[in-house]
């Protein structure tokens, strides 16, 4: 499979595809990833907060039944393989965006797959907050809502950013998979040319671009998280 990849003809063909499709593919991947992660955070952040605050001994304890249901639903969604989730999400995609095919339609299953993941990440970030600081805030007369908005979230910002970066790179990987059901982007290019038409060089180049994109996301995220962490001295 790999012996005839780098022939001059292959390079010639690949270059044409790079020029004609890669820019659009890159944009679609970027757009889908960012938009899907954004909605995943919109849904996942409150759920993550609920998981921590609603816990027994949390600042706003929820009835045990509510919390267990929440946990089960999150685990359930997290355990369905993404490929299958995409197919299962067809009706919902049709309901929300009117179609099951295409770049915008692929955002729906991505959000469904990512928000429970984000909820878990947010949960772990918030649990890192020193409980003594929360107790101090309580001793000063902070309400549960104030503790969430003024203590738990601000204190865990560096960790939240790190974790959302992880979510972003994971969604990026999933978005490439959504090329199978007609989602646009670099994933679609890689599958269409590499898998269906045996143009492996094009597939390889698309993958290289995906790797570069992950690197960029990750280093921006890491830098931001470190920069914003005031616990680190001399900064």
């Amino acid at each position: 499979m790999y012996d005839k990849i780098f022939t001059p003809e292959a390079w010639q063909q690949a270059w044409e595809v790079v020029q004609s499709e890669f820019l659009m593919g890159l944009w679609e991947t970027f757009y889908v990833t960012v938009v899907a992660t954004f909605f995943a955070v919109v849904l996942g952040l409150p759920l993550g907060i609920l998981l921590v605050a609603g816990d027994k001994g949390g600042v706003l304890p929820l009835p045990k039944a509510v919390l267990s249901t929440l946990n089960i639903v999150i685990n359930l969604l997290r355990s369905v393989p993404f490929l299958i989730l995409m197919i299962m999400a067809f009706p919902l995609a049709r309901l929300i965006v009117g179609t099951t095919i295409g770049t915008v339609a692929s955002i729906v299953p991505l959000v469904i797959a990512a928000f429970p993941f984000v909820a878990r990440l947010v949960e772990s970030s918030l649990r890192e907050v020193n409980p003594n600081i929360i107790e101090a805030a309580q001793s000063m007369g902070a309400s549960p809502f104030q503790i969430i908005t003024k203590v738990m979230i601000p204190e865990s910002i560096p960790s939240l950013i790190s974790n959302i970066t992880i979510a972003l790179t994971t969604v990026l990987g999933y978005s490439a998979m959504s090329g199978i059901i007609g989602g646009g982007g670099l994933g679609k290019i890689a599958i269409n040319y590499g898998y269906y038409r045996y143009k492996y060089l094009i597939m390889l180049l698309a993958v290289v671009l995906l790797v570069v994109l992950v690197q960029i996301f990750q280093s921006i995220g890491t830098r931001l998280a470190t920069k914003l962490d005031k616990r680190l001295k001399n900064r």
Binding site: S139, G141, E155
Partner: protein, 335 residues
């Protein structure tokens, strides 16, 4: 005035119920610096958390100026907590906020305007002596400085009571001293009642006027610091006041030897060579078996264990001689 009435707190653990506090009754008067001392696990932290209802007592009442803390609604309790603030062993500052913003925090919670809160916070940073650290982050400060910021934060809402939960336990002796001075100053200048939770007798000695000794969730002794220091009655108190041992027999007792204990009750005797004078004047030679004394405010507190070889007459003479000295109590130790 803070009144704790028959406070009991029971924790349910997997190993069954643990009674952290048993029928604790205490009264703290306005303006007091009240020490609550005990070994680890004595229930001190639970007790102080019951005062501001961070822990709900299982039974009993907490009355602050007559207000029953346990009967307040959540909202009322939050308002009340602005009057009873707290500092901690671990400082517990918000690490992602500057020092100034940390001091602003309780004012922000109370809904004060940002500009006003900032102005008040700056005043408080002046009081604790760290106005130059306004824009620094807690991680850039030493432990002592962090505790000063925490004190400024605790004072922001103009409380009537300051609870100190092992506030100096993480600090070195010199820093401890400066923090205690600050607390004393605040007590004097602002008239804030202070409750100090600690396991260090030196802290009580330095700033408290009254003290309660907590052991196994029970108040075993309570009184002025001088009373407790001069004559600790309970075992827990003796352990705390004289950690080296109260009257541990160092040498085995001889057949013809009597033992007496002298207790210094704030005597001026520290300056006089009491034992040597007894030897000269009465020709009674005493062997010092154990001694544990402390000087507080220029007066001697503590006790000494003497061994006297000879007959019963000699013993009686010694007891008579020593009893005449002011503020010294003498008793024979049977065995």
């Amino acid at each position: 005035m803070i009144e704790l009435k028959n406070l009991t707190k029971t924790f349910q653990t997997t190993d069954g119920a643990v009674e952290a506090l048993k029928d604790v009754t205490l009264t703290v008067n306005d303006g007091d610096i009240y020490g609550i001392i005990g070994m680890s696990g004595a229930g001190k932290s639970t007790l102080v958390r019951c005062i501001n209802m961070l822990e709900r007592p299982t039974d009993g009442k907490v009355l602050i100026d007559g207000t029953d803390m346990g009967a307040l609604s959540q909202k009322q309790l939050r308002d009340m907590r602005r009057n009873i603030t707290m500092i901690f062993q671990g400082f517990n500052l918000l690490m992602q906020r500057t020092c100034l913003k940390n001091v602003c925090f309780p004012l922000e919670l109370a809904g004060m305007k940002k500009a006003d809160a900032k102005k008040r916070a700056m005043e408080l940073l002046e009081i604790v002596g760290l106005p130059d650290k306004a824009n620094a982050y807690p991680a850039q400060l030493s432990g002592g400085q962090q505790q000063r910021i925490a004190i400024a934060r605790a004072l922001a809402t103009e409380p009537k009571v300051l609870l100190c939960d092992e506030a100096t336990s993480a600090l070195d002796p010199k820093t401890t001293h400066s923090i205690l001075e600050l607390i004393k100053d605040i007590n004097r200048k602002l008239g804030i009642t202070v409750i100090v939770i600690t396991h260090q007798m030196s802290v009580v000695e330095e700033i408290c006027n009254r003290v309660a000794i907590l052991d196994g969730g029970v108040v075993v002794e309570e009184g002025t610091v001088n009373e407790i220091f001069s004559a600790p009655k309970s075992d827990a108190a003796k352990r705390l006041v004289f950690p080296e041992g109260f009257d541990a027999p160092v040498v085995e007792r001889f057949a013809d030897e009597y033992r007496i204990r002298i207790v210094f009750n704030g005597a001026d005797a520290a300056g006089t060579p009491l034992i040597a004078r007894m030897a000269l004047e009465k020709e009674i030679c005493a062997n010092i078996m154990a001694a544990s004394t402390k000087t507080i405010g220029g007066k001697a507190y503590g006790n000494m264990l003497l061994g006297i070889s000879g007959d019963k007459q000699m013993l009686d003479d010694a007891i008579e001689y020593l009893t005449e000295v002011e503020d010294v109590v003498v008793e024979e130790v049977a065995d």
